[in-house]
């Protein structure tokens, strides 16, 4: 049985931890609002981009565009988008586990795998796994900027065009709602016309007008494709950013609750111990008094 003093120290410690988790919970809640707002601000841009790409690629011949070229897949790169910071529950672990599963399935299919990382947590893990990491971008999730997405997009396109990799997929923490975030894998390269058509169908809005294209549609597409990759990466980063804050909020909420439970049970133990001590003391006094009488 722990002494009274030990229990008291423990209670104080846990109370301090609770203060920290409560504060982190509130900070995460505030940051989540910001991250969610940015995600929503980005959506019209991404949607518009996708719908124009869909319009254009219907006419496109995949063989003309190097970024659409379907090759026999020997090397796959998975871009893992995680957060930079921990203390957000199983959020990063979930993404990493899903990544490992995907990589294993690719290895089983006899393909070589490479990993690219955005976010420190994913990089920290994969740099210990002995896989080749041709690109990593860390410490950007605090303030997500288009230029970081562009950097990743350019490097990935280059790897693809140089024939270093034949397919690029990406995994990120999809933000479903505040309590649910799901690791999701999507294909980035080669850009598939079918993938774009799906988007197009989703936003069908009446008969399409015959556009004047300036310059030629192929030329436009050539310019937009690299940008489209950036847009996709950016969207993934923003979603991961929002998911991270949501996950942290939930994790810190749980931690605060656990603290409260612990404090409760420790206080109970403390009171019991205190009473026991008093009883023992009384017994001693009574015993002493009895002895004197006799």
């Amino acid at each position: 049985m722990a002494s009274l003093k030990d229990i008291k120290i423990k209670i104080t410690g846990i109370k301090k931890t609770e203060q920290i988790t409560k504060a982190m919970n509130m900070v995460a809640a505030a940051k989540l609002r910001g991250a969610q707002a940015r995600m929503e601000e980005f959506r019209p841009y991404a949607d518009k981009f996708a719908s124009v790409m869909g319009d254009l690629s219907g006419t496109a011949d995949p063989n003309v565009f190097p970024l659409m070229e379907e090759r026999e897949v020997k090397k796959v790169l998975l871009l893992v988008v995680t957060s930079d910071r921990g203390l957000c529950g199983a959020f990063n672990a979930n993404i990493i586990n899903a990544s490992e599963k995907f990589l294993q399935s690719q290895r089983d299919a006899g393909k070589d795998v490479l990993v690219g990382c955005i976010g420190r947590k994913g990089y920290g893990y994969f740099s210990r796994q002995g896989v080749e990491i041709p690109l990593h971008i860390t410490d950007v999730m605090g303030d997500i900027q288009m230029q970081d997405a562009r950097k990743a997009g350019q490097q990935l396109s280059k790897l693809f065009l140089d024939g270093e990799v034949d397919e690029v997929d990406y995994i990120y923490g999809r933000f479903i709602n505040v309590v649910t975030q799901k690791p999701t894998i999507k294909k980035l390269l080669p850009i598939s016309a079918t993938g774009l058509e799906e988007i197009e169908k989703a936003e069908e809005e009446g008969p399409k007008a015959a556009y004047i294209y300036e310059p030629e549609p192929e030329e436009i597409l050539n310019q937009l494709m690299p940008m489209y990759i950036n847009v996709q990466i950016m969207a993934a980063m923003l979603e991961t950013g929002a998911s991270e804050q949501a996950a942290r909020m939930t994790a810190m909420d749980n931690a605060s609750r656990a603290c409260k439970d612990m404090i409760e049970s420790l206080t109970l133990a403390y009171n019991k111990a205190r009473q026991a001590a008093i009883t023992t003391e009384l017994m001693d006094i009574v015993g002493g008094a009895e002895a004197l009488k006799g």
Partner: protein
């Protein structure tokens, strides 16, 4: 028939403009062009440069960089990687950027191979567009 054009300027950061305008002029890749109400559908890529639109006699000027413009059904959408209204432009920063870009271009011409000429030129164009829009350069 409506004689106003619905203009939206969208960037990754925010919806910069959403307004009913009379005329909008944008820097297309194949040349600057103006769009008025009931323009034929058009899809064009954009250069880095100044754009402006007129509304009830007022002119609003913006600096845009990279993206494209789509016009259909009297609705014009400008999708740019960055767009700033003249009042928002940081002149000091643009001036510094211009100097830096000029220096880099000079050095690249002088034979330094580690400088990406295309990037320096793009930086130069962005800075120039901002300064033009801010009215600090003709």
């Amino acid at each position: 028939m409506a004689n106003k054009l619905n203009l939206e300027v969208v960037t990754p950061r925010k919806l910069v403009v959403s307004d009913e305008v009379d005329l909008c002029t944008v820097p297309g890749t194949e040349g600057v062009f103006g769009v008025m109400a009931n323009h034929a559908p058009i899809l064009s890529t954009l250069n880095i440069g100044p754009m402006h639109y007129n509304k009830d006699g007022d002119t609003v000027r913006l600096a845009v960089s990279g993206g494209f413009v789509e016009v259909s059904n009297n609705k014009m959408t400008v999708l740019a990687e960055a767009a700033e209204v003249s009042e928002e432009i940081d002149v000091e920063r643009a001036l510094r950027a211009k100097e830096r870009a000029e220096k880099r271009i000079q050095e690249a011409k002088a034979g330094r191979e580690d400088i990406d000429m295309a990037r320096a030129m793009a930086a130069m164009a962005r800075a120039t567009a901002r300064l033009k829009v801010a009215g600090k350069m003709s």
